[in-house]
């Protein structure tokens, strides 16, 4: 049996647990780690059945969300800082209140989150499909006469 208490890195593949062990619907509620494995005001990245997520402990609870900032795909596990319930992506300062999910600072898009619950000292996320953002494609501007513009 894998060590479930270290709280670091990827948890063991889900197939190593039976449905009765995790006590929930194996198809969508996924055990992420122990409740004490993520320190307050920190972010941890996990891979759950091939889907990358970041889980944040904001003190009053947990949030699970895609691993990239909805602004420009920055890796939130590295760029995000969490202070007084506010997650800020330090690249361009987009921020969200993790308690209310309100937008803060220059953020223009909401943070997409997976539903979470704590049960028996573990935390679970409801992951039935990967949450993704639409990022702006580069404008397809025609190149004719580019070099003669003044």
């Amino acid at each position: 049996m894998a060590d479930l208490t270290s709280g670091k890195g990827k948890p063991p593949a889900l197939s190593t647990y039976s449905a009765s062990q995790i006590g929930t619907n194996i198809m969508s509620w996924k055990r992420i780690c122990g409740s004490g494995d993520i320190a307050v005001n920190s972010l941890e990245k996990f891979n759950v059945d091939g889907i990358d997520i970041v889980v944040a402990n904001y003190g009053d609870g947990f949030r699970a969300f895609p691993p990239v900032c909805p602004h420009m795909e920055e890796p939130l596990a590295e760029t995000g800082v969490l202070v007084r319930c506010v997650l800020t992506c330090t690249k361009h300062l987009w921020a969200w209140d993790l308690k209310t999910l309100e937008l803060r600072g220059p953020a223009e898009k909401p943070l997409k989150t997976y539903e979470m619950k704590e049960e028996g000292g573990d935390i679970f996320a409801f992951i039935d499909q990967e949450l993704v953002y639409d990022f702006d494609e580069e404008a397809d501007d025609p190149d004719d006469d580019f070099f003669s513009k003044s």
Partner: protein, 458 residues
């Protein structure tokens, strides 16, 4: 010796030391001269006046070594030539995936070459318009993944976090509204885009000139005509890269690529080549200062340990051919049957040049074919190959005698052999082109360019 001023520097090891025998010979000559009893027909060595006198050849058959050693002429070359012409900067196979990049410089200007999400390769000045910081500091890599000071899919200036997409558009200014209010916004900012084309076997060509005097096609198509079908038959791939920073002038390197008379230095080339077909190879000049040396069949099996390269010939070529294309102002494409070599020079100073060497094969090579091709390439042209270091010794030796401040010398390029391989018409053609761009005569750079009289033209 005017080289004595360098004796305390690191260059001292390159200053040839007189052997006792040479010193004695020179002393005897000097005595003869001092005594006024010199008989010119009997004394081959020269006194100073004789040494600096013009050779008995027309001025287009020698150049003044000042063009290799003078700092002012060097700076002028960067402005008048390197900032104006088409320069191959890398090969498209070095940017195989979207968001791959390479950085380089042309004439001291830093450049970044990127492959966009739309698969197009574009080039930009690698300079942030904000505070003049270099945007990307790595030699090569990918913008696909984030960096501590970078961003996925963006070029990020790490200094203040300004960001650009793969088309050079500014997509982010840190705390834009707070600092610039409505006075300056992203749309006012962008990287400087450079003309960039992929051509002639998949090489990436860039010019710093927005309105070049000729298109890339017109610049080099005639010189590439002998190999274009071969190079464009199917995708090529770089399998070898190394660079050398050599204490010599970039033109001396190009000269060495343009003249085959120095095959007397290459034992390998003599034993695998010196025959009637070799001496019949044509040395052809093309518009814009380019030249080619035509092909013949190399007898690789005449050199112990080497073997025929016929089985891996590039498309549409008979076995073991050897073509050489030399492009003004200093790029070389050298195809020896199974492997293509490309030299790109970046002049760093009058007496310093960076030469980037690339070896290319066919992209579809099997691993075994690729290993053989690499062996063919490296055994002649690799850093430990049979020929390359000899060429480097040659040009470094020239660089040693033509340090900035050294006395001007006459460098001869006056051989005439019916425009065949040991004719020096290629170099004469090059310096005639150089003179036009510089508006200076190569034999006397203090004089403006003069169009050669029709009778004297090659």
């Amino acid at each position: 010796m005017n080289g004595s001023r360098y004796l305390s520097s690191e260059r001292s090891s390159f200053i040839p030391q007189d052997t006792t025998g040479d010193a004695v010979t020179r002393a005897i000559v000097m005595q003869t001269v001092a005594g006024g009893q010199q008989q010119e027909d009997l004394v081959a060595a020269k006194n100073h006046a004789q040494w600096v006198a013009n050779p008995p050849l027309p001025p287009n058959e020698w150049v003044d070594s000042k063009i290799y050693s003078d700092e002012g002429i060097f700076n002028e070359e960067l402005e008048k030539i390197f900032k104006k012409v088409w320069i191959p900067v890398c090969h498209e196979s070095e940017l195989p995936n979207a968001y791959d990049f390479r950085t380089t410089t042309i004439a001291r200007e830093p450049i970044v070459i990127v492959r966009g999400a739309d698969n197009q390769i574009r080039a930009f000045l690698n300079v942030c318009p904000h505070r003049g910081m270099i945007v990307e500091r790595r030699p090569a890599g990918s913008f696909l993944d984030g960096q501590p000071s970078g961003n996925p899919k963006r070029m990020t200036c790490m200094f203040h976090g300004w960001q650009y997409d793969m088309k050079g558009n500014c997509v982010f200014i840190s705390r834009e509204k707070e600092g610039y209010q409505d006075r300056l916004c992203k749309d006012d900012i962008g990287l400087r885009r450079l003309r960039c084309e992929v051509k002639f076997g998949g090489f990436v060509w860039v010019t710093l000139e927005d309105n070049p005097s000729v298109s890339l096609e017109d610049w080099a198509a005639s010189a590439f005509s002998c190999l274009r079908k071969t190079l464009d038959a199917e995708p090529l791939e770089v399998f070898h890269y190394h660079k050398a920073i050599v204490n010599t002038n970039y033109k001396l390197w190009h000269d060495t690529n343009c003249e085959f008379y120095h095959d007397f230095m290459h034992y390998h080339n003599r034993v695998t080549g010196f025959n009637d077909a070799y001496f019949a190879r044509k040395n052809e000049a093309f518009e814009h200062g380019h030249i080619i040396v035509g092909t013949f069949e190399v007898n690789y099996d005449k050199y112990e340990g080497f073997e025929s390269r016929a089985e891996l010939s590039f498309p549409h070529l008979p076995p073991n051919q050897w073509y050489m294309i030399d492009l003004f102002p200093g790029m070389n494409f050298n195809l020896r049957g199974s492997a293509l070599r490309c030299d790109i020079v970046t002049p760093l100073g009058p007496n310093k040049v960076m030469i980037e060497f690339r070896g290319l094969g066919l992209k579809r090579d099997t691993p075994e074919e690729r290993m053989t091709r690499i062996n063919h390439h490296n055994s002649i042209w690799g850093p430990f190959g049979r020929n390359l270091h000899e060429d480097l010794i040659g040009v470094q030796g020239q660089g040693t005698t033509m340090l900035p401040g050294s006395e001007d010398r006459h460098i001869l390029l006056g051989r005439h052999e019916n425009q065949t391989i040991h004719d020096e018409n290629g170099m004469r053609h090059y310096y005639s082109e150089w003179a036009k761009w510089m508006n200076r005569q190569a034999s006397d750079p203090s004089k403006p360019y003069e169009r050669p009289a029709a009778a004297a033209a090659e």
